[in-house]
Structure formats: C-alpha cells, structure tokens
Amino acid sequence: MNNSEVKLLQGNEVCAEAAIYAGLEFFAGYPITPSTEIAETLSYKLPKKGGRFIQMEDEIGSICAIIGASLTGKKVMTATSGPGFSLMQEAIGYAIMTEIPCVIVNVQRGGPSTGLPTRVSQGDVMQARWGTHGDHAIIALTASNHQDIFTTTVEAFNLAETYRTPVILLYDEVLAHMREQVVIPEPGEIPLVERLITSVPKGTDYHPYFPREDGRLPMSDFGGVHRYNVTGLYHDMWGFPSDNPEITNELIHHLVHKIENRTINITRMKEYYLEDAETILISYGASARSAIHIMEDRRAVGMSIGMIELQTLWPFPEAEIRKKCAKAKYIVVVEMNMGQIVHQVKACVDHPGWVYLVNRVDGNLITPVDIKRILRIIQGKGI
C-alpha cells in the first residue's frame, strides 16, 4: 500500500514537513521574512508530535538553544534569513568546533543589510562558506523545486548526524513562497541516519572527542552516564581546553578533513545532456529553474547545450566539475548574486577564461530570456 501523500505547499511548509519526517524534535527560531512560515508551521505541528518549539528573543538565542538541545540527544533545527543568519555566525562556528549536529535553514533574500526582505537573492553562498571566523569546513545544500526541498532537508539531518556538524540549507525567497506539488514520502522511504551513541559502558572513561577508526565520534547525551566537557576552545579528547600545538594542529585538521576528504560522498548534483554539450550551464536553487527552461528551449533549436544543477554548494565538488566541464567551450554560471559560485567554478576548471556569469540582482527571479540574451553575446551571435 502506498501511503505517500500529494500536497500543494509553499517551499517553507515543505521544509517544515521534511524536518518532521527526518525526526526533528526541537526547533528554536525568531520571526524573519521570508523564512517565518517554517517557524509558524512547526509551532503548530511539532507539539502534536511531542516535540519542542520555542520562539527565542533573537536569532543568536535561537541557534544557541538548538545547540544546547542537540546535546541532550535531540534532532534540532532553526530557520532564518540574511540578517538573522549574520547574527548566528558565531554560534555556527561553535557548533563546528564542538561537533554538535544541527540544521540551519537560511531562506535567502536580497542583501546587504535589511536589503530586500520580500525579494529573492542567492547572495549568502559565500557567507554560508566563510561567515563564521577561523578555518573550518561546512556543509551547505540547496534545491530548485519542492520535491527536492523535501529530500534535501531530510539529507541535511542525515549529514549533520553522520558528520557531527552543522548543516546549512540555502533556500531562497522564490522557492520559499511559491506553491508547488510535492509528494510526501511514506515513512521509511527515505532512510534516516540516527545519532551514533557511544557503546562505552557506565564507569568506563568516555572520550567525547576521540574519533573511531572510521573518523566518526560517538556521542553521549547530556543527562546520561558520561559527564564530559564541551568547549569552543581548542580541546583535547576529554573536551578540555588545550593550546598544546600538537592537539590544536590535529583538531583543526580533523575538523576540515572529516568533510573535505569526503566531498565525493557528501555532494550531489543533477546532470543534463553533458555528453555532447559545448555549452554547459551551472546553476542551483530558483535560478536553476530558468536555466533548465532555456536549456530545453535551446536544445529544441539544435544547440548543443547541457547543464549541471548543484544540490550541494559546500563542500564544493571541484573534481567533479572539472571532469564534467573538460570538453565544454562555454561554461555559464547562472546565479542571483554579483558572482559567488562562478569564482569557485573558475578556480577548478581547466580554462577559467571560458567561464561566464549570467546573473540578476534586482530582486526579481532571473528569467530564461535573461539567460538567452547573455548566451547570444557569449557565443558571438549579437544581442
């Protein structure tokens, strides 16, 4: 029997539904456009599932509360937009350093500053990567349609638990507020990763920061039988502060490598017609919808064009992009910012000079016509 449900939902509602599907037990947030419907939906649905919802006094408090709750063994999430995401940065670094699983949704709007609260943008890609201070690795995912918002949101929880790390979901205003059909999968249809709990018995020393052979760090819930320290300072295997150069060196390498060395396992992308593509569009999020549209349109008139839709933005799949773009003459990055992913693409392909940017930054969704116009110029066909 098929128990999946078909619904017509806003992207924000899909994100909330998917979080519950993934096992969300604790949400803390603060109202901000255009992410508020995630908090609204969860304030209604989470208590019915026995979960906890709290509206905190600001975004900093929200992310701190979910990190605290995560330590007690709960799956946790917060949701915000640009200004709130900026406020959360210090605590994102804390979750990275202390290796506490959590999911942070950033529904992007126009920036900088208060910017364009009700308009679309993809301006926070680099902030998701480098917003918190210091060296670190991060996982950031995105999606271009509601079905993918569902699977990507579930995936965020799975990655957070697998790698003991904060995972950022970079959605955008268009997806968040648009209504689209989505099939809610049956329970069990998408596999869920549950927290890896230590097998060290009571009375035996438990080292919270001593990785197993596979690199994973089993956790012990606060309130359980193992009492240990958690700190944002560099720390030893006990979780106690240390500035011993050997320990600090090992820890920063562990934090970066546990993600960067597994880029191939973490990253996902969709590919269209790459076999014969002389022109490859690279896009993600709402921009990818217009890119797919114009790709199909141009193919219909005989152009050898293909596309890569990025579903993982960080870690950036450099090796894969280089390989897939090796034969292309025109690599066209379509994004709604002044150029963020385009630099990442230039840095990894064989011919950076063959990489072009098509963007739109006025608060409106980039259109297929916007892309077509620039494609003609790039290919020397005039305006």
């Binding site: 803390a28 208590p47 408090g61």
Partner: protein
C-alpha cells in the same frame, strides 16, 4: 562525602589569579550541591566566556562552556529538551548583563527553571581590566583612564522587573550566607538569580585603590547590610544583601508540558 569528589582534579591547577574570589563561589556552590545530595548525572553546568565562566571545566557534572553572553540561551535549549535536569549557569557581570543582557531578561520573563549565578567583580578580568556594566561611576579601568561616567545596573531590581521568581544577593565574604542562598536557589522552581559580589584584586582592585584581596573582602563586610536591617552610616555606597524575591510561580517547562497535553500528542 567530601566536596572535592565534585572536582575534576585532572584539569587543575585552575586558571584563576591568586586572590580571586571565583574559587570561593565554587566552594559555596559545591557545598550547596552536596547538602542537596544531587545526582551528578542530573546536573548540567552551562557557562559563557570570562574568568568565572571557566568554573564549569573543574566540576564533574555535564559541562558546557559556550560563547560570550549566550550561556542562558544554550541553557534554555538544554532545559526545554530535558526539563528533569538541574541546570546551573555561572556568568560574569559582563557576560550576563552586557553582551548577554537580552537573554538574561527573557530567561527571567519566561521563568524557566535555571539557576543563574552572576559573579560580579565589576570588571572584565579575562581581557585585562576593562570597565563592565557593573563598574559604576567614577571608577577606573584600563578603558576608563579618566574614570567611568555611567552608573551600574542594580541586578536585583533588573531581575525582579524582568520576572525572575527567585532573586538574591550575597558576597564572597559571607560564605555561609552564600551557600545557604545557593542551596535555596537550586531547589527553587523557576528562574533564579543569585548575584555574588566577588573580588578581582588583579584588575578592579589594583585600579581602584584596593590591590589586595583581603581589603576587598573587608570592603564587602563593611559596605553591605542584611535585608531588613538598618545600613551603617559610613562613607561610600552600602549594598543590601539577602533574599529579595522567592515566589512560587508556574515554571516555563511545566507550562509547556501543559500546553502539549492540550494539543494532544499524535
């Protein structure tokens, strides 16, 4: 059972200066925990950043050393996720009342069952002696070479106004009084604030004519009076100590549980 069993001796010696009052507060706190005979597995200590916020490392509880000013926000998450845990939140005056002031008043407003201990040494010690929101008028600090020009908060009045259901003040001179208050505070159900005046001879004392710990402690003796008694008529400020608020009011997590029952879990 000796209170030293509550200590993680492995991580000592501690980082505090000679003459620092933080150890006295820790001593009183552990005696209160011992009197209450609490299960260590049930205690979570959440701290922020600063000298006093390093206390958590030395105690054998579940311990969470967080970021500057946000200890109460982390503690709110732990408490709401696991309401049965006893949560103790030591903070410095800058941590609790400057950078963390917003979380402080909102935790009080919720009346969430956390024990907030504000170790007030009237200075930022960890960074080398800058003035704090509790330094007060006409005092000196490394960022106030010409004297401070802003009054301090009255922590007790602030906590009361924000809605804390237990508010007390003591000093490191009055250790038995302090232990007593901490014991009551931990037992109390609701948001609990205990302000403890403590000395920083290294920075506050040295900058303000009291470079030795004993004279600072003597000052706590001379310049305080018990609530309900007549203050001595001496030069300088007189600070009231004691228990100011102790009210039984419904606590946040209890209210949350009730509202869950109302919606009916599925």
């Amino acid at each position: 059972m000796s209170i030293t069993t509550y200590l993680r001796k492995r991580f000592m010696p501690h980082i505090w200066c000679a003459g620092c009052g933080n150890g006295i507060v820790l001593n009183s706190l552990l005696r209160a925990v011992e009197k209450l005979n609490l299960d260590r597995n049930n205690i979570v200590m959440v701290s922020g950043i600063g000298c006093s916020s390093r206390m958590q490392g030395y105690v054998d509880f579940h311990t969470l050393h967080t970021i500057h000013g946000r200890a109460l926000a982390f503690a709110t998450g732990v408490k709401l996720a696991r309401p049965e845990l006893d949560i103790i939140v030591p903070m410095g005056d800058g941590d609790a009342l400057a950078i963390g002031g917003n979380h402080f008043i909102h935790a009080a407003r919720r009346n969430i069952n956390l024990t907030a201990i504000i170790l007030n040494n009237r200075i930022y010690g960890m960074t080398g002696g800058q003035y704090s929101p509790m330094t007060g008028m006409d005092k000196f600090a490394t960022t106030a070479p010409y004297g401070t020009i802003v009054p301090s908060f009255d922590t007790v009045e602030l906590a009361k106004a924000a809605g804390a259901s237990f508010v007390a003040r003591s000093t490191v001179y009055h250790v038995l009084h302090l232990t007593n208050l901490l014991e009551k505070a931990i037992k109390h159900k609701g948001f609990t604030v205990v302000e403890v005046l403590t000395q920083c001879p290294t920075y506050y004392g040295r900058k303000n004519g009291m470079p030795e710990a004993p004279e600072m402690m003597q000052w706590f003796k001379d310049h305080t009076f018990q609530r309900g008694t007549e203050p001595k008529k001496i030069e300088g400020e007189m600070i009231e100590i004691g228990l100011f608020v102790e009210e039984q009011r419904e606590e946040y997590c209890e209210r949350y549980e009730k509202s869950l029952q109302k919606v009916g879990k599925v």
